[in-house]
Symmetry: C2
């Protein structure tokens, strides 16, 4: 299936649509309107219609979308018929939590190997996933044909570890460290910066509060 | 200090700028150009200049920005002189990892109380944080004047738990569950959807791959 050029914001919403279509389908629902979908996924219905329009005629205005066809369409687009194996680099607190995180519930993704330097855990199987020493990174990624990794090492080691990962052939990194790592242009980095997300939330709440106070004056 | 109306994208980058300014200041650097900052935080320098422009004249073109003034300015804007206490609701794997997460390193945020229904852990102190029973939510939030909570309960309990949180006075939620929760209009919800982030990364990598292949044809 050919990939269609779509905006990043649209691509980010596709897994969300897909997850809700799974739920709707399980509930036995056959049709869904953009308004209903909008309420479920908390995205305005104009955006939903625009997102869907990138993929051609998925539904007819006023008739709603067919749940089963949408589901199978998104399944293909999101490559959900094949399991995507990813690696986890850094098995600390967050790494361990991610080993237990159910990525498979609505996405066909599995952490199939983990890497660390701590000899208390390397060579062991944690939450069903083998933990290898970092020295085995290149070999294992090549054997398992893995090109995507989750980075959960301490900040101080983020860049050096990322460099090892690029050297070992990693093409996509989900970066949980607060460091913005430098990467070759051929590599995609997705930053998940927990402190920043929380800080942003706090900032907006304080703005709301300030706006309310100035309205009350 | 009055809050300035800024775009959401800008607000999201402020904590990032702040963090790097701390590092630069610790290194003893006195001036920084938007180009240098751009390389460090991986944001293009035009966006940095535009972001800074919302706050008036923070620097002079060609002379760079004064690190100490920028730092103290962002410190005020981000309210970093006072500690912000937040609650954690749901002490499972991810919740425990977050209890150990160092939000204080570059942001003045602390998880000061946690809530769960599991009687094996309620009434205990985990990673320095007291874990209360959910029945104590309203009282504790009120006593501790906390209005922000991190939600890390199982999906099935997400909405019901969120409702309890709103009832208890929570105004900001950092939602780690894959469910898009419905919230009153007075509440801000920040979604951190790990599976979706990973799925989006995979989608883009596959698009890159497809584009490369079609170029090679």
């Amino acid at each position: 299936m050919e990939k269609i050029k779509i905006p990043k914001a649209t691509a980010k919403r596709l897994p969300l649509y897909y997850r809700y279509l799974i739920i709707l389908n399980e509930e036995g629902k056959e049709k869904v309107s953009s308004t209903e979908l909008s309420e479920a996924v908390q995205v305005d219905s104009a955006s939903i219609r625009r997102d869907f329009s990138y993929f051609g005629a998925l539904g007819k205005r006023g008739y709603g979308y067919d749940v089963k066809s949408l589901l199978s369409f998104f399944k293909k687009i999101l490559n959900q018929d094949t399991l995507t194996n990813v690696a986890l680099v850094g098995v600390g607190n967050l790494g361990r939590a991610l080993l237990n995180y159910n990525f498979k519930r609505s996405n066909n993704i599995r952490i199939s190997c983990a890497f660390d330097i701590n000899q208390d855990i390397t060579g062991r199987i944690l939450s069903g996933v083998p933990v290898y020493d970092m020295s085995e990174l290149k070999q294992q990624l090549s054997d398992q044909q893995i090109s995507i990794a989750i980075l959960t090492v301490p900040s101080e080691q983020a860049q050096a570890t990322a460099n090892q990962m690029f050297e070992a052939g990693i093409k996509g990194v989900m970066n949980f460290t607060p460091i913005r790592i430098s990467a070759p242009s051929t590599v995609r980095v997705q930053n998940v910066d927990l402190a920043t997300e929380l800080q942003t939330l706090i900032y907006f709440l304080e703005s709301d509060e300030a706006a309310k106070e100035s309205n009350e004056e």
